[in-house]
């Protein structure tokens, strides 16, 4: 293996054990140690050429201690300096309010999830990445001589992780990743258009993934903007998976966190059991998806991951929980009963578990439709392929107001041409509450909150306003 030391997992496992032994010596009743160690290679591309090659590794340990419902956390890089970190975590625990009923998860069997580690990636070296970059740059040039990769990069990584707890949880493993993203620009005839596209996964990507052609395509089709009525209008919008996912991931998974639902911090608070989405739509969080970018046999605190339906045929039927938040909300009387759903997530060794989704899907019992069929149903409206400012959407209310320069005008089901720039606003929860049609090509996208979004193109027939510049 070129990337990962052969004994990487054993090393961090030993570190966890060493820290765990120190916790025992301190007489701590419940403790949990997690460790992550990542290695990788990456290339940056600028101005049509490889600008930098990098490699390296990073990692650390996180320690959670629990005494009579009071928890503390600390993190560190080197297991040999764990004693002061444990003391810091204990100090924090003693200053924290007790949460009645909060105990660390007990050990349970967790079946492995397939496809999370591609051993071919472990053998990839910098030269292999350089060859892939060459292939990508050549492909872009061959698709359009005017097109240049003005930014982006590619990389491979492997992460060894481990968790060990006083409750008997002991688990470790290796996951891999391969990612690529390019900003393709066409600067000609006094007009510059561009498009960013990317792809990533646990498995080795094709040398030239389809996102490369998509980037060139969108840089091409947004050239030569047409004039449209500049009055704001409420209109149907077909958002591609790439355009829809950033908004969706900012707003919807957050609204399904159990703590936010019971604390009135979600636009779906108080609507449990009722219709919240169009009646054909379902939302599923699948922590056990084969090859899922965010899937794992266990969640961030060692609880076996699961597949959970959160919205079924439009009805809110589930929510996402971690151990601590469930105990806290029950103890504070906001909900009679709650327990972990295996949705504890971490941002690495520096964070204690919070609540988040893993591999998140939206499906329709009506199935998916071709883009032609969606355009026919739309009639007049717009296609939006990317938005600026998705991170400014309000996850509490579902309101958003973003901008797009990758927008096409559609009339009578036919694409007329691109619009130079437009605002797009609305409330995502309301827009998804009726008149939604899904495409037939599910693509995996990253996320602003947690997890990965598996979404097709989405046609929203109501609830959105387009404001052409």
């Amino acid at each position: 293996m070129k990337m990962l030391p052969n004994d990487a997992v054993e090393r961090i496992g030993e570190g966890c054990k060493r820290i765990g032994d120190l916790c025992k010596q301190e007489g701590i009743s419940q403790w949990e140690v997690v460790a992550f160690q990542s290695y990788g290679h990456q290339l940056d591309i600028e101005a049509g050429k490889i600008s930098l090659a990098a490699g390296g590794g990073e990692g650390g340990y996180g320690i959670r201690v629990l005494e009579e419902g009071r928890f503390g956390y600390a993190y560190l890089v080197d297991a040999s300096s764990a004693t002061p970190a444990i003391q810091q975590a204990l100090d924090v625990a003693r200053a924290s309010p007790a949460i009645e009923g909060f105990v660390l998860p007990s050990a349970q069997e967790a079946a492995p999830v397939d496809g999370l580690c591609d051993r071919r990636i472990l053998d990839i070296g910098p030269e292999d990445l350089l060859e892939q970059a060459d292939a990508v740059l050549s492909e872009v040039a061959s698709l359009d001589k005017r097109a240049v990769v003005t930014g982006g990069g590619l990389g491979v990584g492997a992460t060894a992780s481990a968790i060990l707890s006083s409750e008997g949880i002991e688990s470790s493993g290796i996951t891999t990743s391969h990612g690529l993203g390019v900003q393709v620009s066409i600067d000609a005839d006094d007009e510059l258009t561009s498009s960013y596209e990317g792809d990533s996964g646990r498995q080795l990507l094709a040398d030239v993934p389809s996102c490369i052609a998509n980037a060139v395509h969108w840089a091409q089709v947004t050239r030569g903007p047409i004039e449209v009525d500049s009055q704001p209008q409420d209109t149907p919008v077909l958002m591609t998976s790439e355009g829809f996912s950033p908004l969706f991931s900012m707003v919807v998974p957050t609204a399904l966190r159990g703590d936010r639902l019971v604390r009135n911090e979600s636009f779906w608070s108080g609507k449990e059991g009722t219709q919240v989405l169009a009646s054909d739509l379902s939302l599923i969080d699948d922590g056990r998806m084969d090859g899922g970018k965010s899937a794992s046999s266990r969640d961030g605190e060692g609880v076996p991951s699961r597949r959970q339906t959160l919205v079924e045929n439009g009805r809110l039927v589930g929510s996402m929980w971690g151990t601590r938040d469930a105990a806290q909300q029950v103890a504070e009387g906001r909900i009679e009963h709650a327990e972990t759903t295996g949705n504890a997530v971490r941002g690495g060794h520096q964070s204690p578990p919070g609540i988040g989704c893993s591999d998140f899907t939206m499906t329709s019992k009506n199935g998916g439709h071709s883009q032609d069929a969606l355009l026919q149903e739309m009639g007049d409206g717009y296609i939006v392929h990317s938005v600026m400012g998705a991170h400014t959407a309000n996850p509490t209310s579902g309101d958003f107001s973003v901008t797009t320069s990758t927008i096409l005008r559609v009339e009578g089901g036919q694409i007329l041409g691109p619009v130079k720039q437009a605002g797009l606003s609305g409330n995502l929860a309301k827009a998804l509450s009726e008149g939604v049609r899904l495409g037939d090509d599910v693509r995996v996208q990253g996320s602003y909150s947690s997890g990965s979004m598996h979404l097709p193109d989405v046609l929203m027939l109501q609830g959105l306003r387009v404001n052409p510049a």
């Binding site: 090659a53 990073e58 350089l130 704001p232 009135n264 600026m388 400014t392 309000n394």
Partner: protein
């Protein structure tokens, strides 16, 4: 060894430094022996603390220590980089990193110029921006006291259903050694407090967030009237519950200093970053010396403004920081640059290199970015001749497409302006436009420019920034 280099273990006894200089010097020499024209090792050690309370109860308190080191090697006109938390392993990576750089160089087309660096003063010294009150000495009770003050003032209404308050402080220690003989160590601190307030009235739910922070220790937090900060957030949240959707269309827009800061950061600051210009990804390419804005517009980026959230004494290539004047009276005068882009454009380096931490290589970044003040006395004077427009306040963030020169930023709340008066409260206001157009449409600025709330900027790496300015009027903005 996978993870090592505890700051305590590896720190060179008595020198206050983490890098073992003789070993690093040997590694740098070795890189040159292997053909590198330049090599550097930069270490950053961060001691930080995060605290969060929710509804008045301690949610979490996390003390942490991180260390990372990045070796950057220039060979045959191309970069190879190695980053690791395992400081002791670094010398063993010199050969592979030189090889990496040469492999990149071998792929360079004949039309492409090799990377070279602008010359800079070679300094060996230490610079420590001492806080008045070292935040590392602040105990949890003190942090909780400040958080509770913020919380209690924000929560005083039954329609406020949740208040989450956060604290983050960090002490940053950086060491840089280069093959040119640069050997510098610097340190400073940042402190931040924030709140997110959620209000609900029937089926309507809204949220509002507020922040205060800057470069420095505990004194940064103590300088803020947290009770007032919380009350302001509470009032704004309740106002949002009654606010109407903003009108859409092209309208006169007045922005408070928070939003002015985000506007200038997104619309101008990013396109001014010379690495994006050199990559062909900036609408300001080739426009140095040209008039791109109204003559009332002067914009600076200044990391030396102590207390600003983007302040730092030395950039991550070892240069003393200084003010950069990006626009002077509407004329584009300077790009933000680092040594590579300074050489590329044949201009003087201006210390614009920043890295997120010790595990990232430096990019061209902003620091504290501001529009300078104008001539209007106050908000009233700016809006008195607007018959129908929007006054937008507070930032929810923004984004820019530097190549196309289009940007978007979102306000936390707003008011409708009717016949020179603020009338109805509005929500969900965002503004978009084109950099090269909207800078010309800035037609009014109040006199009192200053930095606003702290922020964070993402460009593949995240760095803290300060933005601000005066209250600004744009004659014609696309409001969503």
């Amino acid at each position: 060894m996978v993870m090592s280099a505890s700051p305590n273990d590896d720190r060179t006894s008595g020198t206050g430094r983490y890098l073992q200089q003789s070993k690093i010097q040997a590694a740098l020499d070795h890189a040159q022996d292997l053909g590198a024209s330049y090599a550097e090792v930069r270490l950053m050690a961060i001691t930080d603390s995060s605290v969060a309370i929710r509804d008045g109860k301690l949610e979490r308190a996390i003390p942490g220590q991180d260390i990372g080191v990045t070796m950057r090697i220039l060979a045959d006109g191309a970069w190879g980089v190695h980053s690791t938390t395992d400081v002791l392993s670094l010398p063993g990576q010199v050969e592979s990193t030189v090889k990496l750089a040469k492999a990149v160089a071998a792929r360079r087309a004949s039309k492409d110029r090799p990377v070279a660096l602008a010359e800079v003063p070679i300094l060996q010294n230490e610079v420590h921006w001492k806080p008045k009150k070292d935040v590392r000495n602040t105990d949890l009770d003190t942090k909780l006291h400040h958080l509770m003050t913020l919380h209690d003032s924000a929560a005083e209404d039954e329609r406020i259903v949740s208040v989450t308050c956060g604290w983050h402080d960090e002490h940053l220690h950086t060491e840089l050694m280069t093959s040119e003989g640069m050997n510098r160590t610097w340190s400073f601190q940042r402190s931040l407090i924030n709140a997110t307030v959620t209000g609900r009235d029937g089926g309507d739910v809204v949220s509002y967030r507020t922040r205060h922070g800057g470069e420095g220790g505990l004194e940064v937090i103590e300088a803020c009237d947290l009770g007032e900060l919380g009350r302001t957030a509470q009032i704004a949240t309740l106002r949002l519950l009654k606010a109407e959707r903003a009108p859409s269309g092209k309208l006169p827009l007045v922005a408070d200093r928070d939003l002015t800061g985000v506007y200038i950061h997104e619309a101008l600051g990013h396109p001014c970053e010379a690495d994006l210009v050199a990559a062909g990804d900036s609408c300001l390419d080739g426009k140095l010396g040209q008039t791109i804005g109204n003559s009332i517009v002067t914009v600076v980026d200044d990391p030396t403004i102590r207390g600003g959230y983007g302040a730092h004494p030395i950039d991550d290539e070892g240069l003393d920081t200084r003010e950069k004047c990006l626009i002077k009276n509407g004329v584009l005068t300077e790009y933000l640059n680092h040594r590579e882009t300074a050489h590329h454009f044949g201009i003087a380096p201006n210390a614009g290199a920043r890295a997120q931490d010790g595990l990232h290589h430096p990019l061209v970044r902003m620091s504290n970015t501001m529009i300078q003040g104008g001539t209007h006395n106050d908000l009233d004077e700016l809006i008195e001749d607007i018959s129908y427009g929007v006054y937008a306040c507070g930032s929810r963030g923004g984004q820019v497409d530097t190549g196309r020169g289009s940007f978007q930023f979102a306000a936390q709340e707003a008011w409708l302006i009717e016949n020179g008066e603020l009338t109805k409260p509005l929500k969900d206001v965002s503004v978009s436009g084109l950099t090269l157009q909207i800078l010309k449409d800035v037609d009014g600025l109040t006199q009192d420019a200053r930095l606003a709330a702290p922020g964070f900027c993402g460009k593949g790496q995240t760095v803290p920034v300060g933005d601000g300015g005066p209250i600004m009027r744009i004659s014609n903005a696309l409001v969503g």
